[in-house]
């Protein structure tokens, strides 16, 4: 997939450059806000792409992990008096632990059966969040106390832009390293054929679990940032449609492609904003574009374009 080390790291550097340069190009605070959302969702899409594109497992419940991170950032400080940073770490750890516990039995399921199991998991999370009103505020959601660093409250969009951008670049770098490592090769072997991989001595169950736990932790980190950035969380964060959005980001951008995850996230974040001018026709156009992209760029946007120009796969 990615043969030369340099190419891989050139993409990391390019993404980092875009993150650094973008705020100087975007003059308008609303655009900066959208860019921040792209980096946050990009992190979640990247994690899911690790699971889907590299390990070959489709999760339809990833918003559940996002919501665990988001609600940890809200519930921890509000009900348990935890400092926000500790609550965020606890949330990410909780999501990883849940993924570990849930993953062991359900990763034995294959294909659509795994997808339905994760779908059920996502619904369970959103139901708990909706019904445990005492802790979560129920369907209306709850306010998220602001992140305070050295006595200053982090609430400006520009501040969150840099936090989200930094976390994203760190995530991109980590995933790029992982894909190039022996573990990454093992994961890709599982994607191509589980049986062949296990014959070659790859511990299939263990590697899939690692990918699942990592992707859950990344989704939770994205969720925590989203909650702190927005200042409010609702159970919609865990909804099925949100999970579908993540899957769409990964597939649209390109399965197994780091850059593709970000392109997919950018499209799904920017497009609905841009389409609001079409008012009632927004969903018609969104659905139409999703179909057209997948028909004409069936391997995802980034790999399809790279292929057409004879570039090395990104």
């Amino acid at each position: 997939m990615i043969a030369r080390l340099e190419v891989r790291y050139r993409i990391v550097v390019a993404i980092a450059l875009v993150v650094v340069v973008l705020p100087f190009v975007l003059d308008n605070p609303f655009h900066l806000r959208v860019a921040t959302l792209v980096w946050i969702y990009g992190l979640a899409a990247l994690g899911l792409n690790l699971l889907m594109g590299v390990a070959g497992q489709v999760s339809l419940g990833h918003a559940g992990f996002l919501a665990i991170g988001a609600y940890a950032a809200a519930v921890g400080p509000t009900h348990f008096g935890l400092p926000t940073w500790l609550a965020v770490i606890a949330g990410v750890a909780l999501a990883a632990a849940v993924a570990f516990a849930v993953g062991r039995p359900i990763l034995r399921l294959r294909g659509h059966y795994f997808a339905v199991a994760t779908l059920g998991f996502g619904l369970l999370v959103s139901m708990v969040l909706t019904n445990e009103t005492g802790y979560t505020g129920g369907p209306d959601g709850m306010a998220v106390p602001r992140l305070v660093v050295f006595g200053t409250s982090i609430r400006k969009t520009a501040q969150w832009y840099w936090i989200a951008g930094t976390v994203l670049v760190a995530g991109v770098w980590g995933v790029t390293n992982l894909i190039g490592s022996p573990s990454g090769r093992a994961l890709r072997a599982i994607h191509d054929s589980e049986v062949a991989a296990s014959v070659l001595g790859v511990d299939v169950a263990r590697y899939k679990l690692v990918a699942f736990v990592l992707s859950a932790a990344m989704a939770a980190a994205a969720g925590a940032m989203l909650a702190l950035f927005d200042g409010h969380v609702t159970p919609v964060a865990a909804g099925f449609l949100r999970s579908v959005e993540f899957v769409t980001m990964a597939v649209l951008g390109g399965l197994g492609s780091v850059l593709g995850s970000l392109v997919g996230a950018a499209i799904l974040v920017v497009l609905p904003q841009a389409l609001t001018v079409f008012a009632d026709y927004e969903h018609v156009i969104l659905g139409l574009l999703m179909m057209l992209f997948m028909i004409f760029l069936r391997h995802g946007i980034v790999p399809s374009i790279a292929q057409r120009f004879g570039w090395r796969e990104l």
Binding site: H112, Y281, H283, M290, M291
Partner: protein, 290 residues
């Protein structure tokens, strides 16, 4: 006892609709390997188109026929314009296409029809039947009878007619079917059309009980897909059993345990079922080619 019967009838009624959606999933999946998440929109179209055709002055039976015909056309269009051009794309790419189609159809319905909740009068104007202390609406019986009829007709069609056998052959092995002279492209188109018809009939049967609006499709697709997988994806009998079981679990769970967690109860049992029977209730374990 009376409340048990009440939950039973409510669960079976809803379960019958899940079963119809699940059968639609299975038909298309078997013929083309596509998991069609727009299946729920067929149910929505069946209900909404009937409501609006009736409003436009058509007598109810004609309105129903028009709705079913419109949905069949939608199913065919979905195959011809969205699924066929993407032939050979990966399974997830095709899923994204059908999700795109479902968003598209939902958007179209919100413009072409409207965003309000609609109802249809019950088709049989009889009093509720009292049975063992439970009151059962005649419309519920109609839903069950309609589902049984559709399932029965489908089985006769698949087992007895030449076209039906071509569908089964295509499902078993597309290349082999092609080699013996079956027009697999037409067969797949047919499976989309039949799935559309089944979904639409489900929609017009359930509307007097559960109401309809432009956005009822997505949750139904979710439940129908779950039912199809629970039964062992690709297995029509499993789809019916999965649908009825899911409806029953929801209804009994809501009645006896907690109405807030009714879906949770169903899904916990689903997870448990899959963990102990990884290929669903009726599915067989497959073997892999390496």
């Amino acid at each position: 006892m009376s409340s048990f019967l009440q939950f039973l009838s409510a669960g079976l009624t809803m379960g019958a609709i899940y079963a119809l959606v699940a059968i639609g999933f299975v038909l298309i999946y078997n013929a083309s390997d596509v998991v069609n998440f727009a299946q729920g929109e067929f149910v929505m179209l069946g209900g909404m188109a009937t409501v609006f055709a009736a409003k436009a002055g058509l007598p109810l039976p004609l309105a129903m026929a028009a709705a079913v015909a419109g949905t069949v056309a939608t199913g065919l269009a979905l195959y011809v314009f969205a699924v066929r051009p993407a032939r050979g794309a990966s399974a997830v790419s095709l899923i994204i296409i059908t999700i795109g189609a479902s968003i598209f159809l939902r958007g179209l319905a919100s413009i072409g029809f409207d965003k309000n909740i609609h109802n249809l009068p019950e088709y049989v104007s009889a009093d509720a039947i009292t049975l063992g202390g439970a009151s059962i609406r005649p419309q519920s019986l109609l839903v069950l009878a309609g589902t049984a009829l559709i399932v029965g007709a489908l089985f006769v069609f698949l087992r007895r007619s030449l076209t039906g056998k071509a569908v089964l052959a295509t499902a078993a092995n597309r290349d082999a079917a092609k080699l013996v002279g079956i027009d697999t492209d037409r067969t797949i188109a047919l499976s989309f059309a039949v799935s559309g018809a089944i979904g639409a009939v489900g929609g017009l049967l359930i509307t007097p009980i559960a109401l309809t609006s432009y956005d009822v499709g997505a949750p139904l697709a979710l439940k129908g897909f779950t039912a199809a997988v629970l039964g062992g994806l690709g297995h029509p009998v499993g789809a019916v059993a999965g649908g009825l079981l899911l409806g029953l679990l929801e209804s009994l769970g809501a009645g006896y345990l907690s109405s807030q967690y009714k879906d949770a109860i169903a899904f916990v049992l689903l997870l448990a079922t899959l963990i102990f029977m990884p290929n669903g209730l009726f599915g067989r374990g497959g073997t892999d080619r390496v």
